[in-house]
């Protein structure tokens, strides 16, 4: 796999199977115990590892079968947070938005056991998946810290501890997502400073996923974010962010979103392949990683699988084209 180009990956979450969704609901109502729920989460995780291998994805994720929301999961496990009541994010989707009520601290690792479990199931690399400090702050209510920078740096410290534990457990890729990084473009320095705290001691490949917002407002400044790879939604934006790279060349590895995740229908293989070809105009095949625009947790298992299938087939199509070009006639 090492000499493979256009490594395929995904952003992190997949659709949960019906049996797990029902079990989570039952658990929330106090009708199913924690250990029974964990068993089903492990079963669903293993199914997704197998599915990703079958789909022939190169860099895997655990699928986040044990997470609901990407901030709340950590907030529930960190000291200093409490979960507030339900808040709507869009349409009919609600989440328990966390409240930073006092100083934050990490009593124990939060994702390391899940990483060990999923990595034990496959020879392919599994990414360690974390939410970045700036996004944790921006998607929480801050009652405890005087400034947003103070809160972001305190959160960076607990995310750093988790990232270093993931690396110690063998993670070769550590993804620290910052989808909120452009929520307030004037605060990008805070996000960069906080990420620096997280990645300062890491040798693993570091990745950050950014989506849904005005990427142009933070480019090219975002190239200073201390990670090796940026993971961007592109299909949903008609690839318009690529044009920014004309003026200020992109300097990191680029994980490029080539299928929209918020639709029931998936693009055709040919349309997705065209997205990869667009990306290749700016980033070399060794540094370009095709994937779906965003996490797939809002999709069903079947839809998640279909979107990944299109990503892999589109990639194989473009790899063939590249191989033909490389072979002298």
């Amino acid at each position: 796999m090492n000499d493979q180009v256009l490594l395929t990956t995904t952003v992190g979450s997949f659709g949960k199977p019906d049996y797990l969704q029902k079990a989570r609901n039952a658990n929330a109502r106090g009708k199913l115990g924690e250990s029974e729920l964990t068993e089903l989460e492990r079963k669903a995780t293993e199914e997704w590892i197998r599915r990703q291998e079958r789909l022939d994805l190169d860099i895997l994720v655990d699928g986040e079968m044990y997470r609901g929301d990407m901030v709340a999961y950590f907030a529930e496990r960190l000291d200093g947070f409490r979960l507030g009541g339900l808040v709507r994010s869009y349409g009919n989707r609600y989440y328990h938005k966390p409240i930073i009520a006092s100083k934050v601290a990490r009593p124990k690792p939060m994702t390391v056991d899940w990483f060990r479990f999923s990595q034990s199931l496959t020879d392919r690399p599994v990414k360690g998946m974390l939410t970045g400090p700036y996004t944790m702050l921006d998607w929480s209510y801050n009652e405890a810290y005087k400034t947003r920078r103070d809160a972001a740096l305190a959160l960076a410290e607990v995310v750093r501890q988790e990232a270093e534990d993931l690396q110690a457990a063998g993670a070769r890729y550590i993804q620290i997502d910052e989808p909120a990084i452009h929520a307030r473009p004037e605060e990008i320095e805070i996000a960069i400073e906080a990420m620096g705290v997280v990645t300062q001691n890491l040798d693993a490949k570091t990745v950050s996923h950014i989506c849904y917002g005005d990427f142009a407002a933070i480019y090219p400044k975002v190239l200073e974010l201390p990670v090796d790879q940026l993971d961007l939604a592109m299909a949903n934006y008609g690839y318009r962010w690529l044009e920014l790279f004309d003026k200020d060349p992109f300097t990191k590895e680029l994980a490029i979103g080539i299928v929209d995740v918020h639709t029931h229908e998936t693009e055709t293989v040919e349309v997705a392949a065209e997205g990869i070809r667009k990306g290749l105009r700016y980033v070399s095949k060794e540094r370009l990683l095709p994937h779906p625009d965003c996490g797939l947790k809002t999709r069903s298992v079947e839809e998640s699988e279909e979107k990944c299938r299109v990503v892999v087939e589109a990639t194989k199509l473009v790899r063939k084209e590249l191989a033909r070009q490389a072979t002298p006639a």
Binding site: G84, G85, L86, V87, R88, Y90, K97, E143, A183, H262
Partner: protein, 321 residues
């Protein structure tokens, strides 16, 4: 001094999730459009009841039927579709970006039925609300018809003006124009002003609600807008607007309760803000409100925020204008 609210109220609470369930059932085809509409009405009744019960002087209908600020219009208007999701300013809340496919037209009755329903349910004063034209026009993701932001904004303004005429005919005496884009993009203020002039021509008093961003650079410009009220958020960003309120000529709707943070303000804090405003403008020109829609908060906190607002205003002297 009067108390009021802006924007959307929480559609559900942790305890009362009828609407959430009804929408799920509607998605699965288990509840028809009439069934869903009945639940939406019941939820609207609930929101209006809570706003009235909290003692808010001038309420709205809680915008329970609004998926987002743009949705009712993007759904109803000809020449406009709803496209992909995008973050709504600096919130972890998302909206569907409008896609303009042709000339925008409307019968001007988009909000009339809902206003008449709310009119029957509400005790006391009720105001209506529309999306600001600049906000709508700047949040469009694709436009295959209008050639410039100005053309698009003015076309949206004409459609919104028609909606305001419809609301006026239905008895509305005050309409909030929710226009965060004006303070997010002060560089477009001339376009916004031309648009607001078209809305004002509809003949119903307008309250221009700005929020999320500081209004400081626009105060003098706002004073010349043909509107009855200006809404100013003094909590979301650093601002010195309180010291400059004398520059405005209209009634000020001061957003003093932070609708985007769960920390409930102390009475002392709120009284301090009100007193600072009263040093610059007379009480009859001051209304007090949350900074923006309370839907950014969980329901239980939204209720606490309303209580804090009302009790701070009472503490100032209990005067009701």
């Amino acid at each position: 001094m009067k108390t009021t609210v802006i924007g959307a109220y929480p559609k559900i609470s942790d305890e009362q999730q009828d609407l959430r369930r009804a929408l799920h059932r509607h998605d699965r085809g288990e509840l028809d459009a009439n069934g869903l509409s009945a639940v939406l009405d019941e939820s609207t009744r609930w929101a209006i009841g809570e706003l009235n019960w909290a003692g808010i002087d001038v309420i709205n209908d809680g915008q329970i039927r609004w998926d987002d600020l743009l949705a009712p219009f993007a759904r109803a208007w000809n020449g406009c579709d709803r496209g992909s999701l995008e973050r709504f300013y600096d919130n972890n809340t998302y909206f569907r970006q409008p896609v303009i496919t042709g000339p925008i037209t409307t019968d001007g009755k988009t909000l009339v039925r809902d206003f008449e329903f709310a009119r029957r349910e509400a005790r006391g004063e009720l105001k209506a609300a529309v999306c600001g034209p600049l906000t709508f026009a700047t949040l469009v993701s694709e436009d295959s018809h209008y050639r410039s932001l100005e053309d698009r904004t003015l076309a949206v303004a004409d459609a919104i003006a028609a909606e305001i005429r419809g609301l006026g005919a239905a008895g509305a005496t005050l309409v909030d124009v929710e226009e965060p884009a004006l303070v997010a993009h002060p560089e477009h203020f001339a376009i916004a002003r031309a648009a607001i002039e078209r809305l004002a021509a509809a003949g119903v008093p307008l309250a221009l609600q700005t929020y999320f961003f500081p209004a400081d650079p626009l105060l003098d410009a706002l004073a010349a807008f043909p509107i009855a009220q200006v809404g100013i958020d003094v909590r979301s960003r650093d601002t010195h607007v309180l010291e400059k309120l004398t520059r405005l000529r209209q009634t000020v709707v001061l957003g003093i309760v932070d609708a985007r943070n769960t920390r409930v303000e102390t009475e002392r804090e709120l009284v301090g803000l009100i007193e600072a405003a009263l040093k610059r403008i007379p009480a009859e020109y001051l209304w007090l409100a949350p900074t923006t829609g309370l839907e950014y908060l969980p329901h239980d906190v939204a209720v606490e925020k309303l209580k804090a607002l009302v009790s701070a205003v009472h503490a100032i002297g209990g005067v009701k204008a």
